[in-house]
């Protein structure tokens, strides 16, 4: 059978993000996938260079609508390292609280989206309904449910009232029970299992070589988590474990996220219990000008390691702000997962990487295939598929 190219995206009912997958199929079998991006580029790195350090804080908070706390924390950490600012412990703990609420709603969103792509729409609606609770808590804590300009050089901008703390605590009991229930649905439902199990497998060594991060890498057994390996904010004070699975399939990636949601609840409870008293900011007014210097700051965003490399030459504007978001390696370098699947698996596999195209496309990248080696193997795969067809399948 001749190989046909099917374009999925950039705006497509099965994909929730503006990315295009050019899928070459032989019948139903996928023989090659190419990711085409560039539909959502905003030039944020260039914009950062032409604005002041503080204006850039507002810009980077808007890189991503889901994990904006992660971006602002990562950037602010770099500024604090350059300027030698030490935020007070209460501010560090509150940053962790806000970031874990964000991880919780981000993972819930993905669990809902994967259910919808599979065709399980009632599960999508139920998870989205419960996610709304987390959004509400984030609003109570930070002042906004989506984009929250909460983190500030030297600390955070709002304190936590005892009433809000109590509300968060009570909601955690409710959410734990709901997440355990949804996790049970994912584990036991035949339909979900048949769409995710053994689909889009990435072996351990491929995940490392291709630089995959976050739950995508941990689903392949890679033992990385910035919160534990390179502690920042208040994570060194907390007791938590890093979820990992060895199967490397789409189900493993989802299970890692479910376990992380439960760990987030555990961390939020610990923060509320051990929350230090004291000021929430070490500076009354953040500096307008920053010293000469540079810093590489890393945080564990819901999708994996987020990295900011900020270079200052002194003055009010950064010389260079490099942003490396987790979706960039996770989407562009994960084409190996599509080998040997059928066309209907493609959107599900992409969703299992939790793609965030707005994140990825601060820069414009179109990836043909990652390296020459892979091109050849896909061709070989195409040839093999051709032989099988002639063999009278």
């Amino acid at each position: 059978m001749p190989v046909v190219e099917v374009s999925i995206g950039p705006q497509h009912p099965a994909l929730h993000e503006p990315v295009m997958l050019r899928v070459r199929v032989d019948g139903e079998d996928v023989v090659g996938v190419e990711v085409v991006t560039g539909y959502n580029h905003r030039g944020i790195e260039k914009l950062a260079e032409s604005n002041t350090f503080l204006k850039t804080l507002y810009i980077v908070t808007r890189v991503c609508g889901i994990c904006n706390m992660m971006h602002s924390t990562c950037y602010v950490q770099a500024l604090e390292e350059i300027q030698g600012i030490e935020p007070p412990p209460r501010a560090q703990a509150l940053r962790v609280l806000a970031m874990e609420l964000e991880r919780l709603h981000s993972h819930m969103l993905l669990a809902a989206v994967v259910a919808e792509i599979i065709g399980f729409e009632s599960l999508f609606m139920l998870i989205m309904r419960d996610r709304e609770r987390v959004m509400h808590l984030k609003e109570l804590l930070t002042g906004n449910r989506v984009i929250a300009d909460y983190v500030w050089p030297g600390g955070v901008r709002r304190d936590l009232s005892p009433e809000t703390a109590e509300k968060i605590k009570r909601s955690m009991d409710f959410l734990e029970q709901r997440i355990r229930y949804y996790m049970g649905v994912y584990v036991s439902d035949k339909l979900i299992r048949s769409r995710l199990e053994d689909v889009g497998v990435i072996p351990y060594s491929e995940a490392v070589r291709h630089g995959l991060v976050g739950p995508t890498a941990r689903g392949s057994g890679v033992d990385i988590d910035v919160r534990r390996d390179d502690p920042y904010a208040w994570y060194s004070e907390l007791d938590f474990r890093v979820a990992r699975r060895n199967e490397g399939d789409s189900l493993a990636r989802m299970m890692v996220r479910f376990e992380e949601m439960l760990e987030s609840i555990n961390m939020i409870r610990q923060v509320l219990e051990k929350l230090p008293s004291g000021p929430i900011n070490s500076l009354k007014v953040p500096p307008r000008r920053f010293r000469e210097g540079e810093a590489v700051s890393r945080v564990e965003a819901p999708r994996g390691e987020l990295l900011y490399h900020v270079i200052s030459r002194g003055g009010a504007k950064p010389y260079r702000v490099k942003i490396r978001t987790p979706s960039l390696p996770n989407i562009l370098n994960s084409l190996i997962a599509y080998r040997g699947v059928t066309l209907s698996d493609v959107p599900v596999i992409l969703a299992s990487f939790d793609p965030c195209i707005s994140c990825m496309e601060r820069i414009i990248v179109v990836d043909e295939r990652t390296g020459r080696e892979r091109v050849e193997s896909l061709r070989r795969l195409a040839r093999l598929a051709g032989t099988d067809t002639r063999g009278g399948r």
């Binding site: 560039g38 580029h41 030039g43 790195e45 260039k46 351990y204 060594s205 490392v208 070589r209 291709h210 630089g211 995959l212 991060v213 890679v222 033992d223 990385i224 390996d229 390179d230 590489v296 890393r298 390691e305 990295l307 490399h309 270079i311 010389y319 260079r320 490099k322 490396r324 960039l328 390696p329 562009l332 370098n333 820069i363 414009i364 990248v365 179109v366 990836d367 043909e368 295939r369 990652t370 390296g371 020459r372 080696e373 892979r374 091109v375």
Partner: protein
């Protein structure tokens, strides 16, 4: 970190600790970079992933700095290898053959800063919009329009 020395052309280059969990080394000749990466991979097979390549335009020094940031999983340490390429003829060897994860970052640097990574066959000028012209947006002298 146990392995603090990288072997390049028979010489050894030491990784200097800048702060806890952050090591770095400057490699004067960009063409020696693959050897340095290979020596890192030899010490930690299946234990190194590439986190980012930061390209910084330095017009006064007539060069472009490339900072390769790796994460060594078993040592829980970041290793930064810094090198510079001349701004007038920005060429560097690709390390995508050693670590395929580097390919996407090399494409990004090629597109926005104009550094050509020799050996990376997926470098193409189709990342930026077609009306961008011939410039590289992250260069300091780039003008819009």
């Amino acid at each position: 970190m146990k392995q603090r020395l990288l072997k390049i052309r028979g010489r050894e280059i030491e990784l200097v600790e800048k702060k806890p969990r952050r090591l770095e080394a400057r490699i004067d000749d960009p063409w020696a970079l693959p050897e340095a990466v290979a020596s890192l991979l030899e010490a930690y097979p299946d234990g190194v992933y590439i986190s980012a390549i930061t390209a910084v335009d330095l017009p006064q020094e007539e060069s472009i700095e490339l900072d390769y940031i790796f994460w060594v999983i078993p040592e829980k340490t970041a290793v930064t290898l810094r090198t510079r390429v001349p701004r007038a003829d920005p060429r560097a060897p690709s390390i995508a053959g050693l670590l395929p994860g580097a390919s996407a970052y090399e494409q990004e640097v090629y597109d926005l800063m104009g550094v050509v990574f020799e050996g990376n066959e997926s470098l193409r000028r189709i990342f930026t919009p077609p009306d961008i012209g011939s410039g590289y947006p992250l260069r300091k002298d780039w003008k819009e329009g």
